[in-house]
Symmetry: C2
Subunit: 636 residues, 2 copies
């Protein structure tokens, strides 16, 4: 019997239920202060000794008895005898007994007979570091549940303490489940996926102050899952089981936790992250995480982090927030809290955010994310150009240096990202694959710094300028050639269908895979159809869209399509054949404000650098012969 529906418990309510139902009892251990960085104190740390432990000279100079110097002046210099009248001291030396002030070396003169001559009196206790100036015995150095940073360790050692009690790191058992899972370092056969979730989850837990233990992969078998959980219970304070948390035929997590302990709830009203199970076994917290990576990591943060931070006595960190303008519409469903990963950049002193792929299976959306847009369950989402608040994954002053590249996708944009970082480590090139048309429109809306475009205009025989003139008439923009690249047919190795030109695709069962609307490559395909007097309806697969050259090649490699139009390096990445068709120009369109920036100067310097150019040409199918050439847009 398949259980079909999960509950729709709001996220905060789910957390309250979980925290009320379980607890990790606090344990403490004694560690050396020198090894306590990043640990959390289990009790207040009070100084045992004072630092300094004695009155000490705060300057290099001489120790004197202040009262004996009161007569010194410009008119009546005072000469002090060494030994009785003064004693040489260096910074940090204990003040000799009976002396109560220090005169700086710069403020005195040594006479030939060894006496020290003063032109001004000393005041009592001047340039003396009193005992306990830094840390005084009995003083609180750091409170309980304090996350220890480098200077804390110094103050604790200065206070005469070399060992302290810290909270023991709770042990978290991570149980990866799934009959299709294999260890990441195994060879991956068809139908198998590497278990990368365990590594990510262990890394998060380690960062949060736990000791993660990754258990062996268990197949979708209730008995084996049960055995794994029982064995983990021995050592673990917290158990995390990955996948099998939904309500499918092979989802046993719910059943196993119910049998061994108690399920508090099954299903959270979020997207992604819905199929989450929260419960306990032997009073130990158990989290059943969804198998999709993004769902799993978000759910872990919602429920795991508050649990561990309650144990550590630390607040749950709140991410900084930033008001941004949406570059694209973001729709949402009523009744579900949506968590959308966003890229963010600053264009014309306005922060622009664009949603990344929403798929719960797209780990890359977290790799690329600069922030998170949380859309509450009572909202239908937000319109393009709307101002919204996002939670930041990176500090705002880092995002300020993000370069937003919109428009067409090309693999050399990745090379460019690395080269720009070499020139200025702060620069981070963030690409949205909007297609050439989408890129030009993003520039027009002031929502990108630069856009890659390769739009051929059959009428004039020109690239890009006719489109820009039409879409963004009379603006202050700069168009720069980046590269000439070869477009061609991406086909299986050996070209089994013998494809040479577009007519080979017409009215056959040979499946084509197309690019999205607005992509330059799709327009190229339409142009080829048009030239041959053909209609899209004659091409099987015309409606099937991918967003990048690599994804087109992947579909051909997987055999779900027989041919796609794209660039050589994409075919090479999959060991596919490539039938060259046409060399086209790929330009970069720079926005009005960006073209005058130092970053744009660095960009131009980079693409005209022979080192960079030979790197690009080594990929095959590229010519950098006109890279950096400025194209006049508006002169007709």
């Amino acid at each position: 019997m398949r259980k079909v529906y999960l509950s729709n418990t709001p996220r905060r309510e789910a957390l309250d239920i979980f925290l009320a139902g379980v607890n990790i009892p606090r344990r403490m251990e004694t560690v050396s202060v020198s090894e306590a960085l990043g640990r959390v104190t289990a009790e207040p740390v009070m100084a045992k000794l004072s630092m300094p432990g004695y009155h000490a000279a705060a300057m290099d100079g001489i120790a004197v008895i202040a009262e004996s110097t009161f007569s010194a002046s410009d008119q009546n210099p005072l000469a002090l005898e060494p030994g009785q009248g003064f004693i040489n001291v260096n910074t940090g030396n204990p003040l000799p007994p009976g002396f109560d002030a220090v005169i700086k070396i710069e403020d005195l003169q040594f006479l030939d007979d060894g006496k020290a001559e003063l032109l001004a009196p000393a005041t009592p206790w001047q340039h003396v570091r009193p005992v306990g100036e830094d840390v005084v015995a009995g003083e609180l150095i750091v409170p309980a549940w304090h996350h220890l940073k480098p200077p804390d360790l110094g103050a604790i050692l200065a206070g005469g303490i070399t060992k302290i009690k810290v909270l023991t790191k709770p042990v978290a058992a991570i149980i990866p489940s799934g009959s299709d899972l294999v260890k990441p370092d195994s060879s991956i056969d068809h139908g198998h996926v590497p278990d990368f979730n365990s590594t990510v989850i262990a890394s998060y837990l380690e960062q949060w102050g736990l000791t993660p233990i990754i258990k062996s992969i268990v197949p979708d078998d209730p008995d084996q899952i049960k055995a794994a959980m029982i064995s983990a219970l021995d050592t673990a304070d917290l158990m995390i089981i990955i996948a099998g948390s939904s309500a499918g035929e092979k989802d046993y997590t719910y059943q196993v936790i119910s049998e061994l302990g108690e399920v508090f709830l099954h299903g959270v009203a979020t997207r992604p992250g819905k199929p989450t199970i929260l419960g306990q076994i032997n009073h130990k917290p158990v989290i059943g995480l969804p198998g999709y990576p993004v769902s799993a990591y978000l759910s872990l943060e919602w429920f795991g982090l508050p649990l561990i931070n309650r144990y550590l006595g630390l607040p749950v960190p709140e991410r900084p927030r930033l008001t941004v303008t949406l570059g694209r519409r973001v729709v949402s469903e009523m009744g579900v809290e949506e968590h959308v990963r966003m890229t963010i950049g600053n264009v014309d002193n306005r922060y622009i955010a664009n949603p990344l792929t929403r798929g719960a299976g797209v780990t890359m959306s977290l790799v690329k994310a600069d922030g998170l847009l949380v859309i509450p369950d009572n909202s239908l989402g937000h319109e393009q150009n709307e101002e919204v608040e996002v939670e930041l994954y990176k500090p705002e002053n880092e995002l300020r240096h993000n370069l937003l590249a919109a428009g067409s996708h090309d693999l050399i944009i990745d090379l460019l990202a690395t080269a720009l970082k070499k020139g200025d480590a702060r620069l981070n090139l963030s690409s949205a694959h909007l297609g050439s048309m989408g890129g030009i429109m993003a520039i027009g809306r002031g929502q990108a710094h630069l856009a890659g475009t390769h739009l051929f205009d059959p009428e004039s025989g020109e690239y890009n300028t006719p489109y820009i003139r039409k879409m963004l008439p009379g603006q202050d923009l700069k168009l720069v050639t980046l590269v000439y690249r070869m477009q061609g047919w991406i086909v299986a190795s050996g070209n089994p269908h013998g494809i040479k030109s577009i007519v080979d695709l017409v009215d056959t069962e040979i499946g084509f895979i197309n690019r999205q609307k607005g992509a330059g490559t799709r327009l190229l395909f339409d142009h080829l159809l048009n030239e041959a007097n053909l209609s899209p309806t004659q091409i099987k697969g015309y409606e099937r869209e991918e967003h990048t050259h690599l994804n087109v090649a992947a579909a051909v490699a997987a055999g779900t399509a027989s041919v796609g139009l794209g660039i050589l390096p994409a075919a090479k990445a999959f060991g596919l054949d490539f039938i060259p068709l046409i060399e086209e120009r790929y330009d970069l369109l720079l926005s009005g404000s960006f073209q005058k920036s130092p970053e744009a100067a660095l960009l131009l310097k980079t693409i005209t650098d022979p080192m960079f150019q030979s790197e690009v040409e080594a990929l095959g199918g590229y010519s950098m012969r006109e890279a950096g050439k400025i194209i006049e847009i508006y002169k007709v």
Copy 2:
């Protein structure tokens, strides 16, 4: 011969000179992805495999051939045969060959004969995760010089990569120098100080991605320092020598670096941090850090962090900035860039910052600091109430929960800090020891949430209210009794001078140590003098001030004073004798806005909690008998 003057090179210029003169050559090593958290990539990481590696069901349900379902509708349900017509699939299963769509379990019904009934057609490729949806072979996962976070590791493993090249952690040799230094775990004799700087510096370097090695302590001896540096050169990429960096008689760092290599500059125009030496030996960077802890840690950050981040290809992190109102005047000297550690809190929606002790020897100023005020070399500082920009050590949303306690110092404020944190982990009680009068004035200026006060009014015989009425007439404040505490004479063990009352201090050589102006304890002493018809000039040491009870006790313990007025726990902390004198009331004054906050409610709950009360009374000299009692201020 003593070299007296150092150069005054501006900090940024000094950094440019250093970075131009030295470099750590990049080395890389191969590590397992599962161990790469926090490491920095040495080259771009491109996916080898696609994830998923095949078209997969994105939902639990059945795989179908979309074309075969086109006739299905409400009116004409379509029944598909198992096997040929449909195949059961669960999320993640490969799409069976020949099938091109998935129908969700919720959208179909299984008939008794095993057929699946549809009421609507499927569109091709619906609910199918295409090959490479997450990561596509050939795609850039992370660029070079990328600091690896948990999801990055997931995407890299998903891309079929289990080992990556990361930058090798440079080795930094830390050489602590000073004849007065001993290892922190040694017993500390008079004239010796524990070497805590090495631990702090090693901790910073570890956080920044180096491998620190703490070398043995070397005395102030040029030959031994030289030998230590030569030996460190073998393994270290960067050498840090602590102390001996100034121009005193026992400062040999300059001389040794000059002889072994080259000093680029000696002396930076900052306070603290001036006696810094930057140079190279065998083209390896050498930093001679000042011996004072705050100087050393700031200087390390100015010069060490940019060096390592250049190696790692990372930008130097910029701290977030915040505009704050200064609670106190902060003066500065022309020609010197001052770095003042600040506490920060939010009172009435305004951020208030107060300077911590400026001393370069006060590690606690870094422990307590919420932010840093950098005063440029061309400024004389800032006035009270002026708005300035500070760099934040903690995120703004953490500072929002800081409770600013001004006013009188009492040890139980530390207990209170811990107890409040127990109630709300976000709360952080930050105390400025301004004395009772200073505390009341800070409340008046809207620059503190609460202030401890114990001001006795001899005329009325009342505590606090007469002062508050006079200083802050007719305001919306709340006064709450915290504790009754015993004040008395703090004297050496055995009370060698036989002090019983204030007359024993008059016209003698017995040195008194006083508290700062505005402190309740100082006013109490003045009141005692007044009662006995005595004048301050009759008390030796009346002018010598300390800011806390513990520091008064420390001076008595060190023998530089014979008697002070203070509270019992301070005497106990140093094993001193305590002659009880008077029991006084210590109240908390709460600001207008704070008294209505949830934090104030928690404060009142805490101080009336019997557990907390017995903790306080266990310290000795305290009675909590009226804790939490509200005192009418303005009813006369």
